[in-house]
């Protein structure tokens, strides 16, 4: 990563800061800001995404000549949280954000909520006005602890500098243990200036926070017995298998028992789609076979999944014939939407091998015959033409060009669903998408974070013309830090998923969802930032553009891929329908 902030000239011209002039007692050689940076470095943090402002100036003063951390200057605090989120999803390590008080903090809110919904470990530091004026409506004051309370796993307002180091360590401990999630630490400016002692005490002990890791033995035995005796078993794998790094255990288990596996949007990559047991994704835009298997199965093993409404469809029509086993580290996820016969609170990585030890392969010959029939009769459709690009074809081509080995990051909407359906995911931590909150604008900054975390891997951001424009300012960041993200912009000149719903459920009244010719020239847009812009309108051009883009290793590439604007995403479970009531084309919907 190019580290051009601050420049060496800037450092040469710099005077000692007024902070350095503050006298520090001999036994407290650091101020709060220095303790923050020192603790982050001690915790193994390498990269932070931040944006300066008044309340965090002491931290930026410390960063001026600090070499322990890479600070990435993003262009909007929301991007900072998404970039840190992408970093965390690609590596499993917590993403770290630094923002100033007031608007800096409130701008992080969408990113924090995104991380909360998808259980991503994130630690967000915000500046705050000095403790003496908190509550006085001071300049750039916002009660960020109050604002973020429902969207963080835990948050803190540091009121005593002697607690700062411990709070930081506790924040990282909470963010990464149990069900991961975002934690916010609010730092009043005076806390950052005050001298304090740095202890280096690494141990964090929170008596009230002890996640269950091992599952309950009796329940595990019951689960193994149910699966061994099943006639139509199904494993339903969610994001928990990725977060818990249990992909090898899940894969070995499903293969040995020869049980079909479907993954949720968040679980893509937890089970290789190249394996014969893979049914692909299930849910609203899942495969026919996956949704039918869910409807018809007799024993369902849910692994780190939360029975989200986009997965279940209408609840009273959801998998009515199955006895259900649910493994989750968060007990509040179990029995929340769907009653479960065998709840197992624990870490998937421990529980799956424990079940594996006790379970024998069930007789699934007839079940597989049925599944193969579904797969044969209802495959995912990839329309192709010589003179225009179909979105499904676009994803297929990206999958081929990257050999299925890229980290794919998306925004939210039609392109996201097509990417989930048609990219062949064979590796974990290679699919990064805002699943729970559905945050448009997430894709590009998250892709930057992933690319910074994994410089050796190809990172493709499949985005749409709507989502990309929400945080396109980050082109500046990507150019500044030479981040070679390949942005495959599926340009249909409209908010495709909104339009699809308006067509299907609102009598084709496409209200405010079509940009038409009001979209910018994305190629020029890339170029004005110093990135590479390319355009394709036919499959042949797209092939060329993709090949050329993959050769560029030192700057972002924005590919404006003009796709068939009228194409809609199928199969689809209409809102309010049961999972087996899928529709497969516009015609079936009466369009």
């Amino acid at each position: 990563m190019k580290s051009n902030q601050p420049t060496s000239t800037a450092k040469k011209n710099a005077q000692p800061s007024s902070l350095q002039a503050i006298e520090k007692p001999e036994d407290c050689p650091h101020n709060g800001a220095e303790i923050l940076i020192k603790t982050l470095a001690d915790l193994g943090v390498e990269t932070i995404f931040g944006y300066p402002g008044g309340a965090v100036l002491p931290v930026y003063d410390t960063l001026f000549d600090n070499h322990d951390l890479n600070h990435v200057l993003i262009r909007h605090e929301q991007s900072g949280t998404h970039a840190a989120d992408g970093y965390a999803r690609a590596t499993g390590k917590p993403g770290v954000v630094l923002a100033t008080s007031g608007p800096g903090g409130t701008n992080t809110v969408t990113g924090i909520a995104t991380a909360m919904m998808d259980s991503i470990p994130l630690v967000v530091f915000t500046g705050q006005v000095p403790t003496g004026v908190i509550g006085n409506d001071a300049f750039q004051e916002a009660d960020i602890v109050g604002i973020t309370r429902p969207i963080t796993k835990q948050n803190y307002l540091v009121r005593d500098v002697d607690e700062l180091e411990h709070v930081i360590r506790e924040a990282f401990h909470i963010a990464t243990n149990g069900r991961p999630g975002p934690v916010l630490v609010d730092l009043p400016k005076d806390m950052l200036n005050t001298p304090a002692r740095y202890s280096g005490m690494k141990k964090v002990e929170i008596p009230s926070f002890k996640p269950h890791i091992q599952g309950h033995g009796t329940q595990i035995a019951k689960a193994a017995e149910m699966l061994s005796e099943a006639k139509k078993p199904l494993i339903y794998v969610g994001g928990g298998a990725i977060l818990g790094e249990a992909w090898e255990e899940v894969t070995a288990f499903a293969e040995r028992l020869n049980i079909p596996v479907t993954t949720t949007l968040m679980g893509l990559g937890a089970f290789p789609e190249s394996k014969p047991q893979s049914l692909g994704m299930l849910g609203m835009h899942g495969t026919w076979a996956a949704n039918m298997a869910m409807t018809e199965c007799d024993v369902l093993l849910a692994v780190g999944a939360r029975f989200d409404d986009r997965v279940t469809g209408r609840l009273d029509g959801f998998s009515q014939k199955s006895r259900k086993i649910h493994i989750d580290i968060d007990p509040s996820c179990i029995g929340k939407n769907v009653p479960v016969e065998v709840p197992i609170v624990g870490d998937v990585k421990h529980v799956i091998p424990a079940i594996d030890k006790l379970a024998g392969p069930p007789d699934t010959t007839d079940w597989w015959d049925t599944i193969h029939t579904w797969q044969r009769e209802h495959p995912l459709k990839v329309p192709k033409a010589d003179n225009c690009i179909y979105p499904q074809h676009m994803v297929k081509m990206i999958s081929e060009v990257t050999g299925g080995n890229a980290i794919v990051v998306t925004d939210v909407g039609q392109h996201q669903m097509w990417a989930a359906q048609h990219y062949r995911f064979n590796h974990p931590r290679s699919w990064i998408s805002s699943g729970g909150l559905g945050t448009m604008g997430f894709g590009f900054p998250a892709a930057m974070g992933a690319a910074l975390a994994c410089p050796d891997r190809e990172v493709v951001c499949i985005t749409g013309d709507g989502g990309f424009q929400m945080l396109s300012c980050e082109l500046a960041t990507a150019v500044e830090y030479n981040i070679p993200v390949k942005i495959a912009l599926m340009n249909n000149n409209c908010l495709g998923m909104v339009r699809q719903w308006q067509q299907l459920f609102y009598g084709n009244r496409t209200s405010y969802s079509v940009f038409g010719s009001n979209n910018p020239d994305f190629v020029k847009m890339a170029e004005c930032y110093g990135a590479v812009g390319m355009r394709a309108t036919t499959p042949a051009e797209m092939q060329q553009v993709l090949n050329d883009a993959m050769k560029i290793k030192d700057k972002p590439v924005l590919m404006d891929l003009r796709v068939v604007e009228t194409e809609n995403c199928y199969p689809m479970v209409p809102a309010g329908a049961a999972l087996n009531e899928m529709v497969e084309s516009d015609e079936e919907c009466g369009q």
């Binding site: 602890v145 109050g146 309370r149 429902p150 796993k153 835990q154 948050n155 803190y156 307002l157 909470i174 929170i206 008596p207 009230s208 926070f209 968060d330 007990p331 509040s332 029995g335 929340k336 009653p339």
Partner: protein, 174 residues
């Protein structure tokens, strides 16, 4: 949940031991407001143990709803323990101060009622009596019901506080 028909039968008393800070208290209230659970009363006060507090919550819902509430409470980092006292033998008390008009019936009649409920008269004016009553919620409800026709001018209730009764068994008298 708010959409469910709640019955008096599904009243639950939860006793929650937490680290004493307002952020935790807000997080707990946020579970009820944010996730749409019912909340009848809540009390919050310091525990005997330094730095701890006990929150007593009375809520309505079926078993699975209350189980969800309990799980969400457990997920709050600073929550040390959640006890559902509903199916346990517990000691539950609530305090209410009730100002009743003496215009209709006169002081003696009101004071007789107070006596029946072991309520104390804590303030007397020309046309009002203030009564202090302690007991479980049913008892407080009952006294209020009886006093209502006389004209309750003001009232303040604490909400329930409760603890598990140490003796959970039954005495065999044979």
């Amino acid at each position: 949940m708010s959409t469910q028909i709640v019955t008096k039968d599904s009243r639950h008393t939860l006793s929650v031991l937490v680290k004493h800070n307002l952020n935790t208290f807000s997080r707990i209230l946020g579970i009820f407001s944010g996730k749409g659970f019912e909340l009848e009363s809540v009390t919050f006060a310091s525990e005997a143990e330094q730095g701890m507090a006990r929150i007593t919550i009375t809520t309505y819902g079926d078993e699975s709803t209350v189980e969800q509430i309990s799980k969400h409470l457990h997920n709050v980092i600073d929550v040390v323990k959640v006890t559902d006292l509903t199916h346990k033998k517990c000691i539950e008390r609530e305090l209410a101060i009730v100002k009743v008009s003496t215009a209709k019936a006169g002081r003696p009649e009101i004071m007789l009622i107070a006596q029946a409920f072991k309520a104390k008269v804590i303030d007397i004016t020309d046309d009002k009596l203030a009564l202090e009553v302690t007991g479980n919620t049913d008892k407080v409800d009952a006294m209020i019901k009886v006093l209502k026709p006389y004209g309750i001018t003001e009232m303040s209730r604490t909400g329930s506080v409760a603890l598990k009764r140490e003796f959970q068994g039954a005495v065999n008298i044979n």
